[in-house]
Symmetry: C2
Subunit: 308 residues, 2 copies
Amino acid sequence: MGIVVVGSVAYDTVDTASGHRDNALGGAATYFSIAARFFAPVSIVGVVGEDFQPEHERMLVDRRIDIRAMERHPGKTFHWHGRYHEDMNKRDTVSLALNVFEGFNPTLTPDQQRCDYLFLANISPELQYRVASQVTAPKLVAADTMDFWIQNARPQLTRLLERLDILTVNDEEARMLSGEHNLVKAGRAILQMGPKILLVKRGEYGVLQFSKDGMFAVPAYPLEEVVDPTGAGDSFAGGMMGFLARQGRLNESILRTAVVYGTVMASYTVENFSMDRLLELTWEEIDYRYRAFIELTDSHSNRWNSPS
Amino acid sequence: MGIVVVGSVAYDTVDTASGHRDNALGGAATYFSIAARFFAPVSIVGVVGEDFQPEHERMLVDRRIDIRAMERHPGKTFHWHGRYHEDMNKRDTVSLALNVFEGFNPTLTPDQQRCDYLFLANISPELQYRVASQVTAPKLVAADTMDFWIQNARPQLTRLLERLDILTVNDEEARMLSGEHNLVKAGRAILQMGPKILLVKRGEYGVLQFSKDGMFAVPAYPLEEVVDPTGAGDSFAGGMMGFLARQGRLNESILRTAVVYGTVMASYTVENFSMDRLLELTWEEIDYRYRAFIELTDSHSNRWNSPS
């Protein structure tokens, strides 16, 4: 039932309307793992530098996240500096230093090769493919990507898409990948490229899910304050994959519930900088917000039949 | 059970990515009535010019929309020319000629004064208030407004808000009216100003409903093609008010269903220019999309309890 995630472990410097945070723990694999760990065992494939702090390593171990395949290399940990607009759906990258991540060549342990659930966080599709190929008989493979790879590594991405169960992208990426401005058309076109399921992340507007069974639309959980949107997408993926791994099987109903749990995890993530909110989160809070979410979106069928 | 709507009856010239339409039938009261008429009797309070075409008058009468209080004045009908961006949530007003609408002084017939449901489409809050004052004992009063009135007629708008059951605005207007960027805070602040219910229209991202019973979030119905978004908000209001009038009573469950029917009507409106799609719509289609919408948003509760 275990999940393997491959992706960045990073230190982030972040500016938002709510404030500034220097060198806070970040990275897609980190957000993903901490969110997923509420539901199922997770192990990380990643790389950190010599500056990776013992307290962060300890935190991951304490949460029983398997970091045996998180390599430590000479040099510094991947660093990203981002600045969000007042409209937090928009952000600029101020600086980006790949550091040890530049030579990242992910290698799975024998245990990881036998995993059932694999999440390929946003790294080059070439590497994502190489990791996917190391897994013997996965039940489900999901991947995230970004505009840079869509524009600059199209053949590698195309090859990857063919073996995916789930692809997660944001709305602009869905448009870019498909060449369709309309999201419904874009979604259908992307399903033709290989993935069985497409999850389009729309930030504060929620998620649009496409599959052979149709569409599922969920709003984001409306929050009174968004402090830092960093990691929302990856903790969404973590909650979603965590729930799927916990269930051990997949149907439309389970998938929809997984998307709601993903939405719940993302909503908590953005309430504070870095992983601060996720790290203090309890099961009771997850359950509370899950139920609040169901209430928020329940349209109480009251259909009125035509007078004809 | 009748609904009275006061607002514009217009001719629109519209440019969208899908094409161009000259002098097509438009206006808030028109869109509203045609949508609402599927559910309940409607009468219009409005004004048109000498150029208002007999075929349009006949169409309204044929649909049993009461136009006895739609005055015909010397001069031309209100004309609006709008141009939509490729992102159809954005539009520019190319030109606007109030024409006979400039001296509009709405007067309700004795029948209309006894109506149960009143919708004050987007006109000056001064006029909206004057109309509301003519209605003897309404069950429910709803109003729409826009940025111009929020900025230029704040005292009149404030006085109106105190007597509203429902206010509909878009997200930018909600922010402007409340002075809060965050929509949840904005929604709560606006409820403090008077309306019992606030419906925030977010275009392709759906509607966020605020009331004392909490929030309700609905996505827009995802469409493969949006031809012309003009009238979406007014036909949303028409479907919503029509359903409420049909029910004759109000609770959270009925309100949510009304919002879904409003969303369904808006989704059809934008599929073609002007009212073309609304005018050929059947009850079977409304019912079909209502059910599709419920399916689209049904999260199939599959809650998994904590392992603790």
